[in-house]
Symmetry: C3
Subunit: 399 residues, 3 copies
């Protein structure tokens, strides 16, 4: 009966399909919306020089050991791809069964983990294995990542610029007149900091970063290679069929704890400032146009682009290749699926996707409807045929 | 009656909606299509060192003063966001009421402006306040923007290259053999100009620009940081499952008065030239492939991409993130909405949008139709139900 | 009759239209999917200094001459745009008629070409004119393209780094501690190679390329200006509303014979490696996120973006501006149309397009259906009207 009913009512069928699909699609969207934010531990041999005993690691993370404290660990690996010399972690119950067969030398587990089978690996018990891995990665990073200091020659430092004692100025770096540098800044080789710009404490400009004149970068920021801060905004006034450049007299101001990915560009304002808020993270190859602002703690994936004078709120998650029109306002806590086009304001807490963007459920529904559009044409044709037949059938009745 | 009619004819309803929406959407499209071309004056404190009296500004713009000629002006501000020390302008009647309450020290107004209430601000009367602001910005820019001159060391200048007296060659700039430099060129630090390339009079290469060998850049061009001119076109011949590089023996030729945004790339031709026409403005992160040409006075917003051998006309306005297929021809005066995909030729004066792109009204209509697609499915289902019912109702009539 | 049938059955009409369109659209897609891979020979004067006699060219390509062996050739041109001093080729029968009127001095033809009219041009007969042109371009490139050697000053070479005798190290290049350089490497000016990285034999880094520490580039690779290899992956853990950086301790490994276009970015893995396979060609402004892998002999057009931990197979052809979600798997021999969004796994040999992507025929069909959506609304409205009318008509019958 139910089956017949479904067959007779294609709409219902679509609805079921749609409910199934919504979940699937929303998962995909979430996946699609942001590049990997998780701590992905892969099985390949780590290229760092880390070499620790299990006892050393347990000491670093405040963990207790069950097994061999003298075992050597030199790499991270997923628990299901473990190998000798690797350390893994178990944070998600559905991976628990792997702990009995993992090849890893050690596994970080929670304090209340109760093995139900014998174990070959050594356990390091900690309060929260997931966040412990993140801390552990940081500690290892401090040991194995290069952290240069001092001034390499040749570099260009304009007269009067003070270089803090603990700074790194790489070879071929250029520091213009009136530049102010915070404590512990690292200007890698071939970076450029234009006149009167300011780089905050502990901020790192990776090789080749360019900061135009008059810009302000906060403390503890990381700007990756190829980033351009303060290039002229795209401002031209049409006049007699030609375009006349409007001078871009503003600047860029980047708050503390911002990270900006390789080859991303943030244009200077025509007047006032283009602003990136505290703790915001921009991925690679992003465009932020003049007079835009992005709030704090917003993450934006690669190749997104924001047109002029658009304001994006705080704590947003913006997918890759998203495009924003100019002069619009996007609220706080907004989530935007990859490749979306945002032509108009978006309210706080909205989750949107598509070109032009609509809310997630509408996008998912439209996707399904589009898929079935061929069927719909067929159904309408059938209705037309049957209509024609009915008209004929009716004719003799009336005649 | 009319209301009933509307209710009975959903198509009509859609049509109304559609007319309303067309305007709205076309506004959005216009907004979306191009990043801010207007002179946006923001209220934030200007970071430049400008400091002028009202009398000085009036002299610069040929205006007449009503108020205090000695008042100091040090920033630009929107009239509705005026503050002491700022100058604003009034060019649009709908903002007129702000002039009576603005905090700005001075306001540029047209010669025939007649105040209807008392004013606290000082007026500077000019022929055309809007274009005056643009000129004023330019004059200020000449005063406050850095304009270096001379040769900084170390830089690399190949034997035989002549450096014009009024040029600027920044530290770590590299100038290859056979390069010709026009009068007043500015090659900022870390720029690269390959063998036999030519840079026209007054052209500026911002820090880190790379121009490969054999390319020609016209006069008065500005190339922003990270721009790459003359990289190899993406040309590979498939052979036995591998790709064989096709040497790219052509070059890039850029005409006069072109501006190119940060990190934009223009590939060299396989033979002949990839060409950018006079007065054309390219925004940031754009890709122009080998053997393309772009006409004169065309503006292209950020992250647009043009595949190989495509020709784009003059006086076009192209939105951000638009993609062009290869080997197509786009006419003159064409307008293309942001994120559009252009798979085929576009005639002169067309206004298109979408993926694939269609004319604006069709795009707007399809957007509305897509939004109502769920309803359409319901309506078709209802027709099917009623059809089934009708068939049954008819059956006894015939039996 | 047939005509009537067509008129009565709009569905059939659509179907015909659709078959016509499929071919057209698939051609467009193929066009759209990849930037020009063919050897495009343009008529403009070549900017290289090539100057050869027909006899020299025939010797270079193993061809036999019919005509004047002493004629001078200094440029390439399409056969239909030939001019004195140019060499053209005839590989496609449909261009055969041009050979009788071409202005070119010489034409490469196949050994079995039989002229049916008198010829003015000189023939060079070869086994395969198409592939001969590619070889000829390469031979010419070796002669006319700059190929520097030696060490320019100033450059920065860390203590202990060995520079192979036949290498080129441009001015302002930076080579960190522990870097290993293969034979014949060319590090152009302003390049950066971080600590412990490795550059394979014959690999070329064009001006300004940045390779972070610990990365491996294979042999015979070409990295164009602005390429960034090994920037940090976009990995942040949300914590109390802020994002906490996850150290990116992995690296990038690029196999042999890879070419990477200007301003493309390949991020280092969080652990393990981001990998680009042998013979793969990436165009300009592409983003490859951390822990991705791309197989061998895959070509990817400009501005495509791949989110984290996604694996793309071998021998794929990926169009411009395509976006891939993270953590998905794309098979071998996959073709993806430009601007597509790939939210989920794609099986081997699939040809997909759209946002989200579907197989080519479905995309083409949906495009047509979308175009006719206005008609469909009208047809449904007509059905509703006629239904209403029928209901009324039927009512009196039953009363």
């Amino acid at each position: 009966m139910r089956y017949l009913h479904l067959k007779k009512s294609p709409g219902h069928h679509i609805l079921l399909l749609f409910h199934l699909k919504i979940n699937e699609i929303q998962k995909k969207i979430a996946n699609f919306a942001l590049r990997d934010k998780e701590c992905v531990i892969r099985s390949e041999q780590c290229n760092t020089q880390m070499q620790f005993t299990v006892a050393q690691i347990a000491a670093m993370v405040g963990g207790s050991i069950e097994g061999n404290p003298e075992a050597m660990v030199s790499a991270f690996a997923k628990i299901e791809e473990g190998h000798p010399g690797a350390i893994s972690f178990l944070a998600n119950e559905k991976y628990t069964h792997h702990i009995y067969t993992t090849g890893s030398t050690a596994v970080l587990v929670s304090r209340d983990f109760k093995p139900e089978h014998p174990l070959e690996t050594t356990l390091i018990r900690v309060d929260d294995p997931y966040s412990t891995v993140a801390s552990l990665l940081e500690m290892v990073a401090k040991i194995v990542e290069p952290s240069p200091i001092g001034i390499e020659q040749p570099c260009f430092i304009a007269e009067g610029v003070e270089i803090p004692e603990d700074a790194y100025i790489g070879a071929f770096a250029y520091i213009g007149k009136g530049v102010r540098l915070g404590k512990g800044v690292k200007l890698y080789p071939q970076t450029y900091v234009g006149e009167n710009s300011e780089i905050g404490d502990g901020t790192v400009l990776k090789p080749g970063v360019k900061v135009y004149h008059g810009c302000k970068i906060g403390a503890r920021c990381v700007l990756h290679s190829g980033v351009v801060i303060g290039g002229d905004g795209f401002g031209f006034a049409p006049h007699d069929g030609h375009y006349h450049k409007i001078p871009q007299l503003g600047n860029v101001e980047i708050a503390d704890d911002v990270e900006i990915g390789a080859n991303t560009t943030v244009d200077r304002a025509v007047m006032g400032s283009t602003r990136i808020g505290r703790g915001t993270k921009l991925d690679n190859l992003i465009q932020i146009a003049h007079n835009c602002s992005v709030g704090s703690d917003t993450v934006m994936a690669a190749q997104a682009g924001v047109a002029g004078s658009t304001h994006i709120g705080s704590s947003c998650m913006i997918g890759g290749q998203v495009g924003f029109a100019g002069h619009i306002k996007v609220g706080d806590n907004v989530q935007i699926g990859a490749q979306s086009g945002i032509p108009a304001d978006v309210p706080d807490n909205a989750k949107v996707m598509g070109y032009p963007a609509v809310d997630y459920p509408t996008f998912a529904r439209t996707t399904i409807h589009l898929k079935n559009l061929g069927d719909l044409y067929t159904r309408v044709r059938n209705l037309e045929k049957s209509n024609k037949k009915n008209s004929k059938d009716n004719e003799p009745t009336h005649s």
